[in-house]
């Protein structure tokens, strides 16, 4: 922290971070629910066999991995809530030198959300119907 006017406004960055985390949580939740529906529809023996094959190959298997997915979504939810609650506590006008940190952000829409107040939050996934149409096309280029 330098306190110099040349830095960026910390409150704005944290506000942007909160938006990103909420978006990431929403996208994660959507993926999680999609897999939940999938799991319900497949025979338990299929999941079990896939798990055995994965363990033979040295992987944790779909069951353990999907439990980690749940954990990941819950972590994103907690972090989003935490950062949202923290943002108003940051003193107005507090500026930090963020150039080195900014260099770590390789995704342009993410950088814009964090460092350009008013920028749209990064799009994690297209909305449901739009995504379904793309899936039918077979190819979705990012």
């Amino acid at each position: 922290m330098t306190g110099r006017e040349t830095g960026v406004d910390l409150a704005a960055i944290v506000h942007g971070l909160a938006k990103v985390l909420h978006g990431a949580h929403a996208a994660g939740r959507e993926v999680e629910e999609c897999y939940g529906d999938l799991i319900r529809d497949i025979p338990s023996s299929t999941l079990s066999e896939a798990g055995q094959a994965a363990r033979k190959a040295g992987h944790p298997g779909p069951g353990a991995s999907l439990q980690e997915l749940d954990r990941l979504v819950q972590v994103l939810d907690n972090l989003a809530r935490f950062v949202t609650a923290l943002a108003p506590e940051i003193p107005a006008g507090l500026r930090v030198e963020a150039a080195p940190a900014r260099d770590e952000i390789l995704l342009r829409d993410l950088a814009a959300c964090l460092f350009s107040p008013g920028a749209a939050e990064p799009a994690f996934r297209p909305a449901g119907a739009e995504r379904a149409a793309e899936a039918e096309d077979g190819v979705h280029l990012f």
Binding site: E32, G36, S45, S48, G63, Q67, E68, R71
Partner: protein, 128 residues
């Protein structure tokens, strides 16, 4: 008739994937009479209408978490004897201790395997 044919279980979890995995594991164990709820409140409503022998509940849920559900079940005469297994995260020692004080029968740590779930259930209700 084996116990797995007659036992009725309710899975309570707000996360679709976890709920699905718990139900898949029960199916793999040959347990077919399984109901589910997305949180504690929904579970209480369903249990009032259709009681079960055993509840397998996640801890971390909105509306009513697993410990509040356990407390509510134990405080109601009609549901006080329902077996209760709490599903928790890795570092939830305090939650497990609170659950034990409230009358939890067993707990299952995530990530769990079907074999771990079988052992956990059998420790409560006997051989499946």
């Amino acid at each position: 008739m084996a116990l797995r044919d007659s036992i009725r279980i309710m899975v309570v979890d707000d996360m679709s994937t976890s709920r699905g995995l718990l139900m898949q594991a029960l199916d793999e164990l040959g347990i077919r009479q399984v109901d589910y709820a997305a949180d504690g409140r929904e579970a209480l409503t369903k249990l009032a209408a259709n009681p079960v022998h055993l509840v397998i509940s996640d801890y971390n849920m909105p509306q009513m978490d697993g410990l509040h559900l356990l407390k509510a079940l134990r405080e109601n005469r009609a549901t006080s004897r329902i077996g209760f297994i709490l599903v928790t995260g890795r570092a939830d020692r305090e939650i497990v201790e609170t659950g034990q004080r409230l009358g939890m029968n067993n707990f299952l740590r995530k990530p769990f395997s079907t074999q771990q779930m079988r052992a956990c259930i059998q420790a409560v209700v006997g051989a499946l």
